[in-house]
């Protein structure tokens, strides 16, 4: 993958390059608004990591300009400003995610992975996490290459979780996806979740429950 880092602090810039290169990406770094703008105009990147406080301009301006041109390259905003207004403005302008400095490299890597995956899914039109793959067009799912024959509601559940893989999917979202807007028992969703859990057992994937909140499809740690 080809990543563009716009960051004026050389220490951060260097560590980002190091961390992201080790994930198998090509990383180019720019430290000013002007040079970054030229680079964006020229090359196609898969992800842009954008620092807001640039010496010769506001990173948000760069984002705004990109989106106006119809450039939908995913953008992850990095900033020392932890002001919520900036975060909201950034997201409004079309940023895909937001990370406040200081950040942990692990967190950054996870976000970058998710963004790249989403970006890739957009192009492949396939949902995948680890061994699990789902084709929203046909409804066909496979685990470790073996086709999974899923009943209707289980298929809906897998699709919903996979779309937001790595993120918590609120139970309200899942319930309305699975059961429509009709009355539903409090345990109904849990029934289907445990069925899918059984199918995923041993695949390295699991569904974690968040009390009162929802579920998250994630890869098992270590």
């Amino acid at each position: 993958m080809r990543l563009l880092v716009v960051e004026d602090d050389s220490l951060i810039s260097r560590s980002l390059t190091q961390a992201l290169t080790s994930l198998g990406n090509t990383v180019e770094t720019f430290s000013t608004y002007r040079t970054a703008k030229e680079a964006i105009h020229q090359g196609a990147f898969d992800l842009l990591l954008l620092d807001l406080g640039l010496p010769d301009g506001d990173g948000l301006g760069l984002l705004e300009e990109m989106r106006e041109r119809g450039d939908s390259t995913p953008v992850l905003i990095l900033t020392a400003r932890d002001n919520l207004d900036d975060r909201v403005r950034g997201l409004d302008l079309g940023a895909d995610d937001y990370l406040a400095k200081p950040f942990q490299l692990a967190e950054l890597e996870a976000r970058v992975r998710a963004l790249l995956r989403r970006s890739q899914q957009r192009t492949e039109n396939l949902l995948r996490l680890g061994p699990l793959m789902f084709d929203p067009a046909t409804g066909a799912a496979s685990l470790d290459g073996c086709a999974l024959s899923l009943p209707h509601r289980e298929r809906l559940l897998v699709e919903s979780l996979l779309v937001h893989a790595g993120n918590i999917v609120p139970r309200e979202t899942l319930e309305s996806r699975l059961f429509g807007f009709g009355e539903v028992g409090s345990n109904a969703l849990e029934v289907y979740v445990s069925r899918v859990r059984k199918r995923l057992k041993g695949s390295g994937l699991r569904i974690r429950t968040f009390r009162g909140l929802g579920y998250r499809l994630e890869e098992e740690q270590g």
């Binding site: 919520l84 207004d85 200081p102 609120p170 909140l213």
Partner: protein, 466 residues
């Protein structure tokens, strides 16, 4: 906002002017009337004297009245204002014994003069006259018929005199007003002197001089000076708080930095890669803590010294709680804890608040709970309605805080007995500041058998159709 435009002097002058004009108008009217009266009195006295003089010239020859108009009578009337002068002496048959007057005196006047002398205005062919009439019936040896003496003159002299008197009165009044104005101006100047002195003193003050004013001022200004002194005191206290905070913050930052220094120094001395690694891990952890501390210091400082008034808007608590819980549950830090949400009320709860501040508050409490409870502890967010208040709770099942330290929990830099765990001790201070900013009530309590609950009560907004 006090809106007093223009100068105090001008306001006083304007009021004075209005008063003087009002009073002046009344005085002018009074002066005009009294001038007229005075002029009338003076000239009426002349008429009376002339009539008396003529009366004395009346003699009775064989019971018949005769009169030789004395020059002196007319001399009396020959004033400097050169009135035209008229006289008539009538007998009881209303024949003119002597007259230079073609006018017929109305019957009513003649009748009333029989009882008492009178003065009156009379419109005649000679213009408007002031006339005086009296009846003379001298005692005599034979029967006497009474005689009426009438004298009159034109009004020019009266008008001139009245005008002169009036002008004098006006001049006196104007002179008085002028004098009063000058005195008033001086008085205002003198009265405003303490204010000017105070202004001067304030102007000379150094920007950071917060000592009370040392000013001798009149009673009316005591309050102003006291208020100013109070303001200075508050500013001084604020500045002291800020200084203390800065000192504390520097100390807080210095401590981990000193640690970093020693660790890295020791590692550099060693040639054992294993020790290097251990030192690096420590450095990493400490750097993380330090940067977090810096962030917290910044938000605390901002919260405490934010100038602008809170920009409140209507915020729905259920949605907000769910969003915050989802955000934090999804974070890596929360991975080893069980972060959950209680069942929320079915009805939306609206408050007037700043959404970012509420998120910050809840986030800090969650962050605290994540840091000060062992892995595997559960942290639960709850929300319920109690009458007209929304009650947000964040409770954990960790070890809680010793009762005697609960009170000091919200002070900055109090990490209580939990020095061992990572954390700055600022989280709860931030929470407390935000709660104050939102106008909410914050309560921290231990749970039984173990755990801590942080509760924030916010007044619900008025129910609206929206």
């Amino acid at each position: 906002m006090i809106v007093v435009t223009g100068s105090l002097k001008r306001r006083m002058a304007a009021w004075l002017l209005v008063t003087v004009i009002g009073l002046g108008a009344l005085l002018m009217i009074e002066a005009w009337v009294s001038s007229r009266q005075a002029a009338d009195r003076a000239f009426d006295a002349q008429l009376e004297a002339a009539a008396l003089s003529i009366s004395e010239a009346v003699q009775w020859q064989d019971g018949r009245p005769e009169v030789v108009i004395p020059v002196s009578a007319l001399q009396i009337l020959a004033t400097s204002s050169q009135e035209r002068v008229f006289y008539a002496v009538l007998d009881s048959q209303e024949r003119r014994l002597s007259s230079n007057w073609e006018v017929t005196i109305p019957q009513a006047l003649r009748d009333s003069v029989r009882k008492a002398p009178l003065e009156t205005a009379l419109h005649t062919a000679y213009g408007e006259l002031r006339v005086y009439g009296r009846e003379v019936s001298a005692p005599g040896w034979v029967s006497q018929e009474p005689v009426q003496v009438w004298v009159g003159h034109t009004l020019g002299g009266r008008q001139t005199l009245a005008l002169t008197l009036f002008k004098q009165a006006v001049s006196r009044f104007l002179a008085m007003v002028l004098l009063a104005g000058v005195l008033m101006a001086l008085t205002i100047r003198v009265a405003l002197m303490p204010l000017r002195r105070l202004r001067h003193q304030l102007r000379l003050r150094e920007a950071d001089d917060m000592r009370p004013l040392d000013a001798e001022v009149p009673k009316e200004m005591h309050e102003l000076v006291q208020t100013l002194d109070q303001l200075f005191t508050r500013q001084r206290e604020g500045r002291e708080v800020l200084l203390r905070f800065t000192a504390d913050a520097s100390h807080q930052l210095k401590t981990p930095l000193a640690g970093l220094q020693t660790i890295s120094e020791l590692a550099l001395r060693s040639s054992d890669p294993g020790q290097w690694r251990a030192a690096l891990e420590e450095v990493h952890g400490s750097a993380e803590r330090t940067s977090r501390l810096a962030g917290q210091l910044l938000s605390l400082a901002r919260l405490r010294h934010l100038d602008d008034a809170p920009q409140r808007q209507r915020v729905e608590l259920c949605g907000l709680m769910r969003d915050v819980a989802l955000e934090w549950a999804g974070r890596d830090e929360a991975n080893r804890h069980d972060l959950g949400l209680d069942t929320l009320p079915t009805q939306p709860l609206w408050v007037e608040a700043e959404a970012w501040a509420l998120r910050e508050l809840i986030g800090n409490v969650i962050d605290n709970a994540l840091r000060y409870t062992p892995a595997g502890s559960s942290i639960t967010l709850g929300l319920r309605r109690e009458e007209n208040e929304g009650c947000l709770t964040i409770r954990d099942d960790g070890p809680g805080v010793p009762e005697e330290q609960l009170e000091r929990l919200c002070r900055p830099f109090e990490r209580l007995g939990r020095q061992g765990t990572e954390g700055s001790g600022l989280g709860m201070a931030i929470v407390d500041s935000i709660a104050r900013r939102l106008g909410g009530h914050l309560k921290v309590a231990n749970l039984s058998p173990s755990g801590l609950v942080v509760e924030l009560r916010l007044r619900l907004a008025e129910e609206e159709a929206s």
